[in-house]
Amino acid sequence: MMLSITPNRKQNNNTLPEGPPAFGEIKRTPGQRAARRILVAAIWIAVWYLAWAVIQQEILIASPGEVLFRLLQLGATGGFWVSTLSSLLRIVIGFLLAAAAGCVLAVLCHLSSFLYDLLYPVIRIIRATPVASFIILALIWLNTDSVPVFAAFLMVFPIVWENVYRGIRGTDKNLLDMAKAFRLKKGSVAKNVYLPSVMPYFIAACNIGIGMAWKAGIAAEILGVPLHSIGTELYRAKIYLETVDVFAWTAVVIGLSVVIEKVIIGLIRKAGEKYSLPGQEG
């Protein structure tokens, strides 16, 4: 079975009486939510601090304060921004190429069952192969700057392809019959029937894919060590046993992962807003 991400297609249950909130669905005000998040973050930072205080070996674990200080130091240097933006650019390019290729090939596979049969084993192989194997192969085939793009692409492409394909195949046959009966043009069917049906599947794929692209891209940078990249900085920090730097760059990776997830998914959701149904999240 291949992994697929099922979009959240909650039904509009406005007409149902409100029962007790399910686990994890307790309604809170935005202020309460923010306070809860701050509390959770504070608890985990305290755990981190305690671990540092108990272990007391800077080579194994850095303190939160040191990491914050190092982050501020790094942020003041031009090299930090060059590395960060270079990594960001490579991974976003890989993600966008995969999203585009996944969509185009899903449409073509819908049109040609032979192409689907042809592509299916390739997708299976991509999914079953550890990303590190592809990165090593890519280091032989490509220049080091392209390897993170390739790694991000390989992570995202199968997810987008499969989800979009499922979205197309899952399009309501009744609506397609309606389009046929009213002799809608192909472009109109694509825009008004297929696209809205596929959108939740595409957003779900992007939601998962962007995080995977980011992790695979950074891993590729660590193995490939391109001139300017977060992965290269992490690799250097590891070589020189600069644990504080490893923690600081890892914090950058996590922070950026959250930011790009929010930005890219936000943009896709905005584009697909017209097609979202009441109570449906992407």
Partner: protein
């Protein structure tokens, strides 16, 4: 003849729905296909619409478009009522004209205040009326209506019947229903379908004089009801 159904055979797996079924329908007027659930009425409409191919036989259609109200509303859930109507018109006319005609069709269905609402925000009867608005705005030489009034309030139904009575003078309206009252009020000819494979067991011609006679209409409606099995009676 506007629609000629010639020796149609159609099976779904083991179930044989039609065997050498033939029926000629006129250029205009309302022909009602009446029968219990599962008597092949909707399949016949799908064959006319070319949504399912016949196993054998042929259907000859008049030139021009065929418009339809499906048994289910089949509205785009992400589009407003106005967009749902407009989308089927955009092929024939520019956006402005299509939009104006869509709004006018919704007005005819007393839905002008709901034009910007999506199907999920409308009641079942309102969705049915959007579906009717779409079919009527689309035009064409044949109008297929599959249980078009289900869920629509009696008062609104009463207002819609005269409109359909006008339309049937200009084109062929094929009404599928298992409600005898609707059949008697609208149809000029009622073909009663039943059996397996399906055949026309009875053909009833109606006149305006019969319709205007309340007693006769009621008697006919009762007779039609008696033709339905008890679990199919409305």
């Amino acid at each position: 003849m506007a629609v000629q159904i010639k020796n149609i055979s159609k099976s779904f797996g083991e179930a044989e729905i039609f065997r050498n079924f033939s029926l000629d329908l006129p250029d205009s007027g309302c022909v009602c296909l009446f029968g219990p659930s599962g008597s092949g009425k909707t399949t016949l409409l799908n064959l006319i619409l070319d949504l399912v191919p016949p196993d054998a036989g042929q259907i000859v259609l008049p030139p021009g478009e065929i418009s339809v109200v499906f048994q289910e509303d089949r509205l785009l859930p992400w589009a407003s009522a106005r967009e749902n109507v407009r989308i089927v018109l955009e092929k024939e006319m520019d956006f402005q004209k299509a939009d104006a005609r869509a709004l006018s069709a919704l007005k005819d269905m007393f839905l002008e205040d709901c034009a910007s609402m999506r199907p999920s925000e409308l009641s079942g009867g309102m969705r049915r009326r959007v579906s009717l608005a779409r079919a009527l705005a689309y035009g064409g030489s044949v109008l297929l209506l599959d249980e078009p009034f289900s869920g629509i309030d009696a008062q609104i139904k009463d207002a819609l019947f005269p409109m359909l009575a006008r339309i049937k003078k200009e084109k062929l309206v094929i009404l599928v229903t298992h409600y005898p009252e609707e059949a008697v009020r609208l149809a000029d000819t009622i073909h009663v379908l039943s059996g397996s494979p399906v055949r026309v067991t009875q053909t009833i011609r109606l006149t305006d004089a019969l319709r205007e006679n309340a007693g006769e209409s009621l008697r006919l409606a009762r007779a039609l009801t008696a033709l339905l099995p008890s679990d199919s009676q409305p």
